[in-house]
Amino acid sequence: MSWRVLRLEGVGKDFTRADGGVAEVLRDVTLTVERGSFFTLLGPSGCGKSTLLNIVAGFEGATTGGASLDDKPVAGPGTDRTVIFQDVSNALFPWMNARENVEFGPKMARLGAGERKERADTYLRLVGLDADAGKFPFELSGGMKQRIQIARALANDPDILLMDEPFAALDAITKKHLQVEFRKIWSETGKTIFYITHDIFEALLLSTHLAVMTAGPKAGIKEVFQLDLAEPRSPSNPDFAAMYSRVETLIDEEVQRMRAR
């Protein structure tokens, strides 16, 4: 449990396509994610970000290399790493109300009813939905559902949250609220975050580290930044604005390269 770094070493991934050909998606991806950091992955659409996250989650095996927590290789899904999916309607259990969804992990850990309730209370309160505990997913808005998914993940006390564009499907205002709230939750809980987004603004607002990927096929890591931006972070700060255009340029280069092919 007391790992220090999540390591991706020489990760390559090929898929067999439906037509029998081979899709060479990732090549030699090497990254180090420090415990407690908020690590964000940016890159052109289809370059392999979700594939990389699925490898860390243990849903898919790497073709070469692999992920490890310190020296312990990731061999499959585990309760130390919980994924927050963008498609929250399918990720939640529709036949369970908010509380039952949040209690699912503790239940799988065979905790008693008392402790389960306590955990659910704690994390429902943390995401501001203690009053909606009895509601079913279909009764909740997209933003509320995403909060439930976050509470459900935290109730299981994982080390790392793996988040694949968690707020991308939300409207601008809800998204802004959740970004601010989620950054608070991150700093309060001290979880390690591995985060994917297409939104440079979001990445700069939330992250401690940021990696830009090259365009696929055979995508890799183009550049990694440690973000020591002035707090509170704001697009009107000069360092924020400078970083924004720098990252934007890198991604544009990759998109151009992809188009040229």
């Binding site: 899904p77 309760t79 919980t82 259990f93 529709p94 036949w95 699912f104 997913p137 299981n156």
Partner: protein, 255 residues
């Protein structure tokens, strides 16, 4: 129901009865197609002397046994087809073939194989039930969203928990649709079987009335079939609404 609905629905029933009443004696021979009030009187007599209940219960008992067995077998087979590779390879060919053979066509075979007594009726009902249940169950199990399963894996669910707490609940709306269709099929199967080979049951009642030229009894049997079908379907819906409501929340409509 508001007053408008009540009005039109009452009118609909009245219109149907009038049409029947008018056509008996004009369009049809009144001896062979008796008027509704004659049927009503006959139905009342048959109810009073217990004959209706006897035949209704005979059919219902067969359906309860056959449907229960067929449902359980159908769900288990459907799950196996969707989850176990060998089961899929072994069962798909016969199932895909057999699904085209309507239950009515299987009755002579059932009689040859299982005789004239109850077992052949059970066989026909199980056969009628199992096909829609298997295919709906398999479709439901296969349609479980992958990320829902993955979410459960991250939360520490093992193979059994994933099946019992994620895959099966995700499949319930499909399975229940299959069970509801199968209930209708079960009645069709049992009535047909009783018409061909039985000493009791609603199908027997109808067939016997034709042979013995008792048209009032035939209509009473038809009425009984409609009534039993309606009541059991409503009972099914009511039970689902009570016990399985939370699993139906994932689908837009079920009625």
């Amino acid at each position: 129901m508001n007053r408008r609905t009540v009005f039109w629905r009452t009118l609909s029933v009245a219109a149907a009865l009038s049409l029947w009443w008018l056509s008996s004696g004009t369009l049809f021979n009144p001896i062979l197609v008796p008027a509704p009030h004659k049927v009503a009187v006959h139905l009342w007599e048959m109810t009073a002397d217990g004959e209706i209940l006897f035949h209704a219960w005979a059919s219902l008992r067969r359906v309860i046994v056959g449907y229960a067995l067929g449902s359980v077998l159908g769900i288990l087979t459907g799950v196996a087809v969707a989850r176990i590779r060998i089961a899929e390879d072994m069962l798909e060919p016969p199932l895909q073939f057999v699904r085209n053979i309507t239950p009515v066509a299987i009755i002579p075979l059932a009689v040859n194989a299982f005789g004239l007594e109850e077992p052949s009726k059970y066989f026909v009902i199980i056969y009628s039930t199992i096909i829609p249940v298997v295919f709906n169950t398999a479709a439901g199990v296969a349609s479980t969203p992958q990320i829902r399963v993955r979410a459960a894996m991250c939360l520490g669910a093992g193979r059994w928990d994933i099946f019992a707490r994620v895959v099966l609940p995700s499949a319930w709306p499909f399975i229940l649709t299959g069970l509801r269709v199968a209930l209708g099929f079960a009645f069709m199967g049992v009535v047909a079987a009783e018409m061909i080979a039985a000493e009791s049951g609603v199908g027997y009642l109808i067939m016997q009335s034709r042979n013995m030229l008792l048209p009032e009894q035939m209509f009473s049997g038809l009425f009984l079939l409609g009534l039993i079908g309606l009541v059991t379907d409503r009972a099914f819906q009511f039970t689902i609404g009570r016990l399985m409501r939370r699993y139906m929340l994932q689908t837009a409509a079920f009625d």
